[in-house]
């Protein structure tokens, strides 16, 4: 059983995102630990990029804080490797943009992921059409390529999105950027039901999910709920002291997600 399979086997999972190196590379470890302690089942570690064009203001600012603190790709892999040593069982995903991932060659990136104990990679700007850029290298290194499906991914495209995906499928519930409005629950219910007819891997839903109530509603239909901007906002607010508030919000979200199916 992979770490992903274990994480999703327990019922709906909370997938928690923070930007690596925000506010500083050294401060990230305590924030990641807070996510695990709060009950997050899967951790998404954002790789900072100068041009995060799919992200809303919260995560844009987090990227700038991280890069402003001097975070490098080497720092991100060091953070990942240290996390893996502290938390042998918790799935860890790197999420980011193509250029930092391919800049030393996809094989280099995939090998570093494997070495650091990274389970999967989400790359915002490599659609299935450009899979050769990164997909073969990741699959060759045993690292899951986690693709995004969106409200504009119709029935004709869905098989191409699922082909070569593993770990889980990330359903982006709104056509838009991170951290903005939330989709109507009915549209999420419909989309998840449609996607789950075709997907053999778990389906997690994200974008615009900020509160335990929203998370609970999504967890009734999806295998996972992704929360990012709300956690990143806390890091922005509390800086190096963010671990406490992050742990609290994560706990509230995790309780909501984990109990959703029992109600």
């Amino acid at each position: 059983m992979t770490r992903f399979e274990q994480a999703f086997a327990k019922g709906p999972a909370l997938v928690a995102f923070v930007t690596g190196g925000d506010p500083t590379p050294d401060a990230t470890a305590a924030i990641l630990d807070a996510l695990v302690e709060g009950g997050a089942d899967v951790i998404e570690l954002g790789m900072p990029f100068t041009d995060p064009m799919a992200d809303g203001p919260a995560i844009q600012r987090a990227n700038l804080r991280s890069l402003g603190a001097g975070t490098t790709t080497a720092d991100i892999f060091a953070i990942a490797a240290a996390f893996r040593a502290r938390h042998p069982q918790v799935p860890l995903v790197l999420m980011g943009y193509a250029n930092p991932m391919i800049t030393r060659g996809p094989e280099w990136f995939a090998a570093e992921c494997a070495k650091a104990g990274v389970d999967g990679v989400i790359c915002v700007d490599i659609p299935p059409e450009e899979d050769p850029e990164l997909g073969p290298a990741l699959r060759g290194a045993g690292v899951a390529l986690i693709r995004l499906a969106t409200p504009t991914t119709d029935a004709a495209r869905l098989p191409a999105v699922l082909e070569g995906s593993s770990g889980f499928l990330y359903y982006v519930s709104v056509a838009g950027i991170t951290g903005m409005q939330q989709a109507a629950q009915a549209s999420i219910d419909e989309a998840v039901a449609r996607i789950k007819q075709h997907a053999k891997i778990p389906v997690a839903v994200g974008f615009g999910v900020r509160t335990p109530e929203q998370a609970a509603a999504i967890a009734k239909v999806a295998d996972g709920v992704v929360v990012g901007s709300a956690l990143v906002d806390l890091v922005g607010q509390h800086g190096v002291n963010a671990a406490g508030p992050v742990r609290e919000l994560t706990r509230a979200l995790a309780d909501a997600v984990h109990s959703a199916r029992g109600e």
Partner: protein
């Protein structure tokens, strides 16, 4: 010309069906945009084959833009440089004062064809923003222009023009608040409004099919110039010269000549303060990477973080370049050089003084390159440079650089 790779049968059959120019180009966009990009590709393919589309495009270029633009022999500049004959393609005489309008006409016709009811665009210096606002006014579509806050501050006349034309100008404060950040923000808007919004990209870059369709719309420059030159001199030019930011005026001039082996071509990047300092010369100082939907040469650090470009010309300070230029450079068909801010200012004044033409700072880079190469060429050779914009928008910043208070 020495080619690094075997010569293909034609240089004019790019991109391939996946939108790649060799290893460059492609469709590196978020999944939300991918279906729309595929729609656009289908619609553009249909439009290309539709004589009515081409006829409407040609009609608007003739009667609204004022094409064909003249081909002009510059006698006093030629004499001053003392070498090859210098000719200009006068695209600065177009409506709105630059080549940008050619592309905007084509794209708004596509937008209407696709049933889109709202237009967005990014702009740096404001020329593409003005051209977009112009065609939106002409066709009665609402228009939102994203412009870096830094550029809004330094290009006030163009901001006012856009507003007069009915556009909403959104200042972008993210990043360095220049063209790159404006493009990020336009992409963010687009992804949230895919159902009704068409993104008019201003240069021959971005996800496929943009580099191809912008090139095709701008190729009117080279098609006209080729016919005009043959008719006036009975021969083809020996050298084409054009400035390059994203590279749309250059690819528009070059593309119709690519399969004429006797015609050499020179693209001129902005060397800013110098290639060892801040500049915007992606080919000279960058390496391949992925940004804004395409793979191309980018200014970036070792980790792939994008470095801001600098040029005296707000239209050239972009850290990337259109993917077809990246390919043409790698196959060796086009030569690329760069020109500093100081050299461009010198070229700007040279053309004012010798020909009574005030150029924009973008083609001032091409003029500076002409100044460098013309003296090395025989007197019976022909150099054709693209005068892609006029300098009205730049007189304030040129005055400031020359230490003149207006």
């Amino acid at each position: 010309m020495t080619l690094q790779n075997p010569t293909p049968n034609t240089f004019r059959n790019q991109p391939d069906e996946r939108g790649h120019f060799g290893q460059f180009g492609g469709r590196y966009v978020a999944e939300t945009l991918m279906p729309l990009i595929l729609d656009l590709e289908r619609e553009y393919t249909a439009a290309k084959a539709d004589p009515a589309f081409q006829a409407e495009f040609d009609d608007l270029l003739e009667h609204y833009v004022g094409r064909p633009s003249p081909l002009y022999f510059a006698p006093r500049l030629t004499e001053e440089l003392g070498g090859g004959q210098v000719w200009f393609k006068r695209d600065e005489l177009n409506h709105t004062g630059a080549h940008k309008i050619n592309n905007c006409i084509g794209q708004i016709l596509l937008a209407i064809r696709m049933g889109k009811t709202r237009i967005i665009a990014e702009t740096g210096a404001g020329q593409h923003g003005v051209a977009t606002a112009t065609v939106c006014a002409r066709f009665g579509l609402p228009c939102v222009i994203f412009m870096g806050a830094t550029d809004v501050a330094r290009q006030q006349p163009n901001v006012f023009r856009m507003k007069l034309l009915g556009a909403e100008v959104v200042p972008v404060t993210a990043g360095a608040a220049t063209l790159k950040d404006a493009m990020n923000e336009a992409l963010r808007d687009w992804v949230a409004n895919v159902h009704d919004t068409f993104y008019i990209i201003g240069t021959a870059a971005g996800p496929h099919p943009y580099p191809e369709l912008v090139r095709d719309f701008q190729s009117v420059i080279g098609k006209e110039a080729r016919a005009q030159m043959l008719s006036r001199t009975g021969r083809l030019p020996d050298l084409l010269v054009a400035a390059i930011g994203g590279g749309s005026n250059a690819i528009g001039l070059f593309h119709p000549f690519l399969d004429d082996p006797s015609v050499k071509m020179l693209g001129v990047e902005a060397a800013g303060y110098g290639l060892d300092k801040d500049h915007a010369a992606s080919l000279a100082g960058g390496r391949p990477g992925i940004l804004h939907g395409n793979k191309t040469y980018l200014l970036q650090d070792g980790d792939g973080q994008i470095i801001e470009g600098h040029s005296i010309s707000a239209g050239l300070d972009y850290p990337g370049i259109g993917p077809e230029h990246a390919w043409l450079r790698d196959v060796g068909r086009v030569d690329y050089t760069s020109v500093t801010d100081v050299e461009a200012l010198d070229g700007f004044q040279l053309l004012c003084r010798t020909e009574g033409i005030i150029p924009a700072l973008e083609p001032a880079h091409a003029i500076a390159a002409v100044k460098r190469v013309a003296p090395t060429m025989p007197k019976d050779s022909i150099i054709l440079a693209n005068l892609c914009g006029r300098g009205d928008k730049d007189i304030f910043s040129v005055a400031a650089h020359l230490g003149v208070e207006l």
